[in-house]
């Protein structure tokens, strides 16, 4: 028994050595395999959710994402909808948004890119406030807080 334990221990240690030697040269391949695991995707609370609508204007485009209400065990009651403007944006952005696609405008948003001021006028009781409004590498992004119910 004692001998078996010793052999097993030494075997385990050598296995560790081998794993370490192949770890760095194989890191890229291992990482790619790990990245394919089903849970290896960033939560929509961070990515902003999938694109739901894509609107094209003269010089720029507007993406309205699917509302995000992700919670731990169940959906949470408060969430947000993210809107991205891309391309050659005007100094003053004015847009009326229908985020749920019911044909009714849910809110009006005005962004002054010079003084970074964002104003929101809500036409839907579920639309709360501006959570984030920021310039991005591709243009501008806004997250508007929503209530689910």
């Amino acid at each position: 028994m004692k001998k078996t334990k010793i052999i097993a221990g030494i075997f385990w240690a050598f296995l560790g050595l081998i794993v370490f030697i192949i770890l760095f040269p194989g890191l890229n391949n291992f990482s790619v395999s790990v990245s394919k695991l089903p849970f290896m995707k960033i939560n929509p609370r961070y990515t902003g959710g999938e694109k739901a609508y894509h609107l094209v204007a003269e010089k720029c485009t507007l993406d309205i994402r699917r509302p995000v209400f992700n919670g731990f065990l169940k959906e949470s009651n408060s969430g947000f909808v993210q809107i991205d403007w891309r391309g050659d944006l005007p100094a003053l952005i004015n847009d009326s948004i229908d985020y749920n696609g019911d044909g009714e405008k849910d809110f009006f948003i005005q962004i002054n890119r010079k003084n970074l001021k964002t104003d929101l006028k809500s036409f839907n009781p579920k639309v709360k406030d501006v959570v984030i409004s920021t310039p991005t590498s591709y243009g501008w992004a806004v997250r508007v807080g929503l209530l689910k119910e």
Binding site: A13, F20, P25, V34, N43, F72, I132, T134
Partner: protein, 383 residues
């Protein structure tokens, strides 16, 4: 004479030490240069060469002098400093500031660090997603490769990760070496369990809020890497917490106690790593027949991993990070690296050689990139 023989038990002759360094020399050469060193840019060439030599000289001295921690700590501390330099430099180059903006979070461009891992587990299991605004693959410090590195290192080294792999540990390790004698000698044993309490709290709060709460609210190393732009009372509070924890647990207390207090009393990943000590092949063992209970090891252990009772019972606690400081201090050579299943007091040299090769290889290769980068930056700055 007998005593001298015992104290110098791990020392090797010049020839033997060179021989033991040779495999490390070859492997680090391959890993650092990819087999083809590139000297087209002088500064890069010098940086690469310096780091390559530094890494191998330190390893040589571990064998030649028989001391472990003394040389490990050099690379470990340099690693921590250079990683902070690399991260800050990266932030300054890409963002022209040491903080990240809301846009960086929105575009998932935040570099990932292993301290997030405990908080990812429950949300990954229940929501099938990662609660961190970083990149899954590709780009600087992506999530997949950090997870692979940490997982493998923890499975093989256990809490050894905290002395051979963590790029933050070098900060409090460094500060703990500043004074010759500690000002604060005794600390309530209860605090040793704090990392587990922190672990439970951050796992729960992260799951319930789907936010890496430790990173957003607690991590002291935000002070030397990157943090959220201060735009509100909340972000100012966070910055205040980061700075005071860094000042208290990474600078002041380590200097006063000569211990790694951040790692001992706060880090939740350290808690997980301690648990993994149970399954790793390498351990630290006490040869009771050689030990004369002088308790020098207890005094020097930087992680409160040894108590007099542990020595008497012949078992090192799960908090051990395999740093080797106790072994350097032991006049009897009684505390030593071991392999699970192998009785204490036997195969001491074999176990040490194997462990040092594995752990040092990990640290050398993991740290080389950022140390080279830092040297390169310094050279460019000076000349």
């Amino acid at each position: 004479m007998d005593n001298i023989l015992k104290t110098t038990g791990m020392k090797k002759s010049l020839g033997k030490s060179l021989l033991y360094t040779l495999p490390m020399f070859l492997i680090t050469f391959m890993f650092l240069t990819g087999g083809k060193p590139n000297f087209s840019d002088t500064a890069s060439g010098i940086a690469l060469l310096t780091v390559f030599i530094l890494v191998n000289v330190l390893f040589f001295f571990m064998h030649f002098t028989g001391k472990t921690d003394k040389y490990r700590a050099v690379l470990f501390i340099v690693f921590a400093l250079s990683l902070s330099y690399t991260l800050i430099n990266n932030m300054l180059e890409v963002r022209k500031a040491m903080y990240f903006s809301q846009a960086d979070i929105l575009e998932c461009k935040i570099p990932f660090c292993h301290l997030v891992i405990p908080m990812m587990i429950l949300p990954a299991a229940f929501t099938k997603s990662i609660i961190f605004p970083g990149s899954i693959i590709g780009g600087f410090a992506n999530i997949s490769s950090m997870v692979v590195l940490w997982l493998v290192a923890t499975l093989v080294l256990g809490r050894g990760f905290c002395s051979w792999g963590c790029f933050y540990g070098g900060w409090d390790d460094g500060f703990s070496r500043i004074r010759k004698r500690p000002v604060i000698k005794k600390i309530n044993e209860l605090w040793k369990w704090m990392p587990y309490a922190v672990l439970i709290m951050v796992i729960l709060s992260a799951a319930l809020t789907l936010m890496p709460t430790y990173c957003s609210w607690i991590c002291p190393f935000k002070a030397v890497t990157e943090f959220e732009q201060v735009t509100s009372v909340e972000s100012a509070t966070k910055a205040g917490i980061f700075l005071s924890l860094f000042g208290g647990l990474v600078i002041v207390l380590p200097v006063m106690t000569k211990k790694r207090t951040q790692c001992s009393f706060l880090c939740p990943l350290g808690a997980i790593n301690s648990l993994s000590n149970k399954i790793t092949p390498f351990t630290v063992k006490i040869d009771k027949s050689a030990c004369n209970e002088c308790f020098k090891c207890v005094g020097v252990c930087p992680l409160y991993a040894l108590s007099k009772e542990d020595i008497r019972s012949g078992k090192v606690s799960i908090f051990c990070s395999k740093c080797g400081k106790c072994m350097d201090a032991c006049p009897q050579n009684a505390i030593h690296y071991g392999i699970k299943g192998v009785p204490s007091g036997t195969l001491k040299n074999f176990s040490r050689n194997l462990f040092l090769f594995v752990s040092y290889l990990f640290m050398a290769v993991f740290s080389a990139g950022s140390i080279i980068n830092t040297f390169h930056g310094l050279l460019k700055f000076i000349f």
